[in-house]
């Protein structure tokens, strides 16, 4: 158990490698109840969501979710989040555990609309079932047809008699679902899912595998790739930053940065050395310190050591050879395309 944002969280159960493999080839179950939930309701709910986030929530249909950034007036990240449109006047935001109180305060302080924000974290537990066999396992426990739910869409319905929001989302690069429900049913649903998945070899997974899976899938982690000093342009998240939707927090700064250009860019790298370039290690290009690693670990499925780092844009081309300073020694690495891993279907 480790302390993570004030929650006692299991780092691993069977071991990170075994858990990682289970999610890539079978199914894994994560207790992610630490994640925060913020609900926004009212006639001005969309306006509030649009003002504080950088993606275009107006494009969402009811039952659809999107990845977005919660922005500062400087165009940097307060947090990253998932925005779920439950109805025209009701949005559910799923945010990082450690940021939830700050996020909520930020949203409330930014609210000049006909909308009300509620910190709903205590009302929700969340389990993530991920992997190619996740759908079949979850389907055993629900009448809601799961196959028609498209990626980044959700349905509301019962899982083993417990009312749930069933979202086809995840943080692993694999197919799967994240389900949100009343915390009083947490243990019961965990046990039911473990039972339903037993024959398929479902594996309980901890924070360790959650990190290796998301990194292999090239996904950002708040506090590593993104924070309140990084912008979407720098983090390779232009696809969630929609300047054409109208003004939002930081949009003026982001428009200027888009014109002027960025001074650092997030890239993926693979080690050409056996060692691992980890969070905080300096990146050396042409003999000069040129950036920092944001995350690094062995990629258990790809069987190589990978990481992400910020480097100057002129050095960010795929194939560029760089060095990572590991305990004072320069270790060879090469910039490669993100994501490192992409599932076939």
């Amino acid at each position: 158990m480790v302390n993570f944002g004030g929650w006692d969280m299991p780092l691993e159960y069977a071991g990170i490698l075994a858990e990682h493999d289970a999610v890539r080839t079978g199914a894994g179950l994560f207790d992610v109840s630490h994640m925060g939930e913020i609900e926004v309701r009212g006639a001005g709910a969309l306006e509030l969501v649009q003002w504080v986030t950088c993606n275009n929530a107006a494009k969402l249909a009811v039952g659809q979710a999107q990845y977005a950034g919660l922005m500062t007036p400087q165009g940097t990240f307060v947090d990253d989040l998932l925005v779920h449109k439950i109805s025209d006047m009701h949005y559910l935001l799923c945010v990082n555990a450690g940021n939830q109180y700050g996020d909520f305060a930020h949203i409330v302080a930014s609210n000049r609309f006909d909308a009300k924000a509620e910190n709903a974290g205590p009302r929700y537990s969340q389990l993530a079932i991920q992997g190619p066999r996740a759908t079949a396992i979850l389907q055993k426990l629900t009448q809601v047809p799961l196959e028609p739910i498209r990626y980044y869409h959700f349905a509301c319905g019962k899982v083993d008699a417990v009312e749930c929001l069933i979202a086809r989302t995840g943080y692993t690069g694999e197919d799967g679902f994240e389900i949100y429900f009343d915390p009083q049913f947490s243990e019961k649903l965990w046990d039911k899912l473990m039972d339903a998945g037993q024959s398929a070899g479902i594996q309980p997974c901890g924070l360790g595998a959650r990190n290796t899976l998301r990194l292999e899938a090239g996904m950002c982690l708040y506090g590593h790739e993104i924070d309140d000093t990084t912008t979407p342009w720098e983090a390779g998240l232009a696809w969630i930053c929609k300047l054409d939707k109208g003004p939002f927090l930081g949009s003026d700064v982001l428009a200027r940065q888009k014109q002027a250009g960025i001074e650092r860019k997030l890239v993926g790298f693979e080690m050409l050395d056996k060692r691992i370039g980890r969070d905080g290690y300096p990146v050396i290009i042409a003999g000069q310190e040129a950036g920092r690693v944001t995350s690094g670990c062995p990629a258990p499925f790809l069987k190589k050591n990978i990481g992400m780092a910020y480097v100057p844009p002129k050095s960010a081309c795929i194939g560029t050879e760089i060095q990572i300073s590991i305990r004072g020694q320069a270790a060879a690495a090469r910039i490669i395309a993100l994501p490192f891993y992409k599932r076939l279907q």
Partner: protein, 132 residues
């Protein structure tokens, strides 16, 4: 679990003394704390190591950990098998996954280290702190 004829450090290394040769590894407690080991960096044969100095690193999926030398001496052998099979440290930390062998400077140096009973009491205390 913890062999009686080994001696142990607070940093979770073990040393087994045979005459003037010391064999060094990390304990089962250490491998468990590290999780899946993926890489081991060891000194060169002939290197002179000092008590408390670094003898290398053990890298797991989640972290990298420096290994400290429990006794001083000259490296006479390193466990080359770990190069291709670092996971042996998780499977057999007290035997086949030894890290290095030393020609000891002074075999009596181990007298300051813990015996198995003292080490077990030490890690039991650690585990209590963890769950507290």
């Amino acid at each position: 679990m913890y062999p009686n004829d080994y001696r142990y450090t607070k940093d979770h290394e073990w040393v087994k003394v045979d005459g003037s040769t010391g064999t060094i590894g990390i304990t089962d407690y250490a491998q468990h704390e590290l999780g899946d080991v993926v890489f081991v960096e060891l000194p060169k044969v002939g290197a002179q190591l000092k008590t408390g100095g670094s003898l290398g690193t053990v890298e797991s999926v989640k972290a990298v950990s420096e290994i400290f030398c429990p006794v001083s001496g000259e490296v006479t052998e390193i466990n080359l098998a770990l190069g291709n099979a670092p996971e042996r440290i998780n499977q057999d930390p007290h035997n086949s996954a030894w890290l290095i062998k030393l020609r000891l400077t002074d075999a009596k140096e181990t007298s300051g280290l813990m015996d198995a009973a003292a080490y077990e009491a030490y890690i039991a205390e650690k585990s209590k702190e963890h769950s507290a």
